[in-house]
Subunit: 108 residues, 4 copies
Amino acid sequence: MSDEQHDELIQTLHECMTACNHCFDACLKEDDIKMMAECMRLDRECADVCNYLEQALLRNSPFITELAAVCVKICEACGNECKKHDHDHCQKCADSCFKCAEACKSIA
Amino acid sequence: MSDEQHDELIQTLHECMTACNHCFDACLKEDDIKMMAECMRLDRECADVCNYLEQALLRNSPFITELAAVCVKICEACGNECKKHDHDHCQKCADSCFKCAEACKSIA
Amino acid sequence: MSDEQHDELIQTLHECMTACNHCFDACLKEDDIKMMAECMRLDRECADVCNYLEQALLRNSPFITELAAVCVKICEACGNECKKHDHDHCQKCADSCFKCAEACKSIA
Amino acid sequence: MSDEQHDELIQTLHECMTACNHCFDACLKEDDIKMMAECMRLDRECADVCNYLEQALLRNSPFITELAAVCVKICEACGNECKKHDHDHCQKCADSCFKCAEACKSIA
């Protein structure tokens, strides 16, 4: 991975984590929260794993490849769930998740 | 803090974190999830801070006192919210939170 | 995974995380710290991933299998490094890591 | 806190966490690692607490003030330790820590 790729991946992970945490917070305030249960569960999972991988990149972990492979799966699952919901925060979160899944795939 | 106190605090934090994560997961499955929004938010906060303090204790962090003071506040907030709800997982979580708040107070 | 397996795995992960954090803290105090650099790096990695998987189990994450597979790799790497060093904390940490790797393998 | 302050604080926390993780990784590779023990311990503490506070801001946690107060203490301690060492990564980390401590003070 080049330095540029490294920095770009960190940026992408950070945007995804931000979108997931924002979506989680916004879902908690929605009237149709019952429909958002799976979305909230996956938002938390996805925010946590993106944050974990970002930290691992920053401390030069030897396990980036393995962690990125898990991150792909979780980002895709979260993106697929978010895409189902019309809320703006869900649609934006889905975009971030799919972008992040692609970025992680390239190093997994 | 004696070794015994140290081990007991780790155990108490771990039980609280477990109860909060279980309550979060159970709330996501409840029919009256709309009423549980604040409970879920605080469950996540409380699980995270208890886990953080537990890790800090295990790695012999120099900032235990300060972290314990924050943990008291979050445990009490989560306990007070959980206590409002009749679900068994909420009542159990409230008990764990108050017990954990007391334990953290003794070192804060 | 049965409830019993679930609880046992959480216990094993917790013991491994505890051993790794203790080993990290003890390495920082060793005179031959130069030789312990890789051990400290892996102790931190291993403590973090065990903690992550434990949290995921407690919140009923849908990604246990994938996370457990990563945990196996990191536990084995940390155990292999720790085994090289005569310090009591390293030998104990190696034992915990190998035990944890086995436990994770059974669900990965 | 205005939206602008919020975004700026997240950026500052992120830079500090990045500097601390980089300093930790670089210390592990230094020849005089024995002298860097306290620096590594505090780098890990500081990276973890900055990351924690950043996550808390992103998910709109009700405990920002209390967490920021702890973050001030840890950033200052890490900055003071790093400042003692001539390595470029230590000096840069010290700058980031002091900048972050100031930013956290303004909301604590």
